[in-house]
């Protein structure tokens, strides 16, 4: 016997579709890749800089589908620009639209200037790209990229959907997942070129730190969510969540990195690449399962009452 009015939901089921988790995943990956590349530029060795510089290309490439995905999900895609008629950071949706709009040109400018510095971009375009103030672009890009990676979880949490809103940690979880997938994407592109083992080891260590952090935050998230986490941990999203997001996306890469720690050359490259692919896929699985399970959570009358117990 339901506590409320028949078994009717208290809150409305979100109307968003697959474009949203796909955008969150790519936007997070772009932010994470940009940050990793910028860290290597500023703190790494010459080899690190060369290996991680491709991270700027990854960030720019991942951003290409972001705006189309965000726009496609709108009820009135022709009015996307209405997001930008006001600046209202109180609304995570508005903050996100501004962040995406400003991060995209910064990431492209930095990618172009990197291409110019390696000789990939020549001629007048290369000359133009060399004018980009790299330090400024790195600083602005890191702030904007981190905002893009971190706001998505806060956006979902700023609702009344029990699975999203109960815990304080969804923003942190999506941030960690974004950084893991972003650094993994940098490792993946570095592994395809001849880079020294030491650099790959360092990149793998960064990725492992993000994955381990992600595991810890996920544990906290599930503990805080209590019964509200049921649509995610049991039922039809349990398999993709436990096996995909947790198993293949976090545990397996950690294990592969442990093995890779003692390897060199081709074996190392294969192991880190496999781990990176797992991390990137797992990050998508995490966004997708939490997003879709949130829709089921909206129908959970008891969880809604629990959330609003004060």
């Amino acid at each position: 016997m339901a506590e409320g009015y028949y078994d009717y939901p208290v809150v409305k089921r979100p109307v968003w579709t697959w474009e949203v988790p796909a955008y969150f995943w790519l936007g997070g990956l772009a932010g994470g890749a940009y940050l990793t590349a910028a860290l290597a530029q500023n703190f790494g060795s010459a080899d690190d800089r060369r290996a991680a510089g491709g991270g700027y290309y990854v960030a720019a490439a991942a951003l290409v589908p972001c705006a189309p995905l965000l726009i496609a999900d709108l009820g009135r895609p022709d009015r996307f620009h209405h997001m930008l008629r006001i600046f209202k950071p109180l609304s995570p949706m508005n903050l996100g639209a501004w962040t995406l709009t400003s991060f995209t040109p910064v990431a492209f400018a930095r990618a172009a200037s990197h291409a110019a510095s390696t000789g990939l971009l020549r001629g007048p375009l290369g000359a133009l790209a060399r004018l980009v103030p790299t330090r400024l672009a790195e600083l602005a890009g890191v702030v904007l990229g981190l905002t893009l990676a971190g706001y998505s979880g806060v956006l979902l949490a700023a609702t009344n959907i029990p699975l999203w809103a109960k815990s304080k940690l969804l923003g942190g979880l999506f941030m960690a997942s974004a950084l893991a997938s972003g650094s993994a994407a940098v490792t993946l592109q570095a592994g395809r070129r001849a880079v020294p083992d030491a650099t790959l080891h360092r990149l793998a260590m960064i990725e492992s730190a993000a994955s381990a952090g992600e595991m810890a935050i996920l544990t906290g998230y599930l503990v805080q969510s209590k019964k509200a986490a049921r649509p995610l941990t049991t039922g039809r999203f349990a398999m993709p969540f436990w096996l995909g997001a947790v198993g293949a996306g976090m545990l397996l890469p950690l294990l592969l990195h442990r093995v890779a720690g003692r390897r060199h050359g081709r074996a190392l490259r294969s192991l880190t690449s496999a781990a990176a692919i797992c991390t990137i896929g797992g990050s998508l699985a995490l966004r997708w399962t939490i997003f879709e399970a949130g829709k089921e959570s909206a129908e959970d009358q008891g969880a809604s009452f629990d959330l609003a117990r004060g």
Partner: protein, 280 residues
């Protein structure tokens, strides 16, 4: 310069604030006739929702939604007494609460959702881009988006306007006008609150001990979303009417959540800098 810009962009000054208007829905008077649902649909030209039979009492409307701005609930309660089962029907005409701190309004990224001069919450149909964020933000599950295609005003958010167009002409909203038992009362919010307190005293005196008001400034349900401009007299716990005990305002916990997100990002940047900085 700002004035020149406003003239150039054709930006109008918002109307001056007026006395706050609202609804007092006294469920003890509701007979479940659904005249409010019909009057609302008719005045606001909202399409029908189909002919689905829910099997749950006489309520085949089910929920408030993008095209359903009044919804009459039929709560059937059976309780045992000495001679067997006593049956009672609770009826309640649900509506947008027009919260003083509205979650939908705060979520809105375009400024389509505004507070009107009457203190009500209103969606500007020409601004809304259908981002859908207000839908899960509302703690009462009121606002919804129409389908993207095949619909009048497709793909935008809709909810009760408290008949903003009628208010502009000093008219009573359609639902209140059509209510035959004065279960739905419209007026100045302050005056309605006085009336509600008086009515509650009357019911308590008659032995309706479970009667209570929902959405008054002093109620615990106003802790986050503030007093409701459309408030209710209920004959049982709020949950029985699918109303949350303490409706949440997402803003209240947002800073903390951004904080955790930022902490993770900064922590990762520090670890990354340390790992990359350690040479050899």
């Amino acid at each position: 310069m700002i004035d020149a810009y406003k003239r150039m962009m054709n930006i109008e000054e918002p109307p001056a604030p007026k006395t706050a208007k609202g609804f007092f829905t006294d469920t003890s008077l509701c007979i479940g006739c659904k005249a409010c649902e019909v009057a609302c649909k008719q005045w606001n030209q909202l399409p029908a929702d189909g002919f689905a039979i829910t099997g749950n009492s006489y309520d085949n409307t089910g929920h408030l939604g993008a095209t359903t701005w009044r919804h009459v609930q039929f709560i059937e309660q059976a309780k045992a007494n000495g001679s067997g089962q006593e049956q009672r029907w609770l009826m309640m005409s649900d509506v947008c609460k027009h919260c003083a701190n509205a979650a939908c309004l705060e979520a809105c990224p375009t400024g389509a959702l505004v507070r009107t001069e009457y203190g009500t919450v209103y969606v500007q149909q020409d601004i809304c881009n259908g981002c859908g964020f207000c839908v899960p933000a509302c703690p009462f599950g009121v606002i919804d988006r129409t389908p993207k295609t095949g619909h009048f005003e497709a793909g935008t958010a809709h909810k009760c306007t408290l008949c903003y167009d009628r208010l502009k002409d000093d008219m009573t909203p359609a639902c209140a006008k059509s209510c035959p038992t004065a279960s739905i009362q419209f007026g100045d919010v302050e005056e309605l609150r006085t009336r509600a307190r008086h009515r509650l005293g009357e019911l308590h005196a008659r032995g309706e001990s479970k009667a209570r008001l929902y959405g008054m400034p002093e109620g615990k349900e106003a802790a986050e979303v503030g007093p409701l401009h459309a408030f209710f007299l209920l004959l049982d716990e709020p949950q029985k009417y699918n109303l949350p005990e303490v409706p949440r305002l997402p803003r209240k916990t947002m800073t903390e959540r951004y904080g955790w997100s930022a902490a993770v990002g900064i922590g990762f940047a520090l670890v990354g800098a340390l790992v990359l900085g350690r040479r050899g």
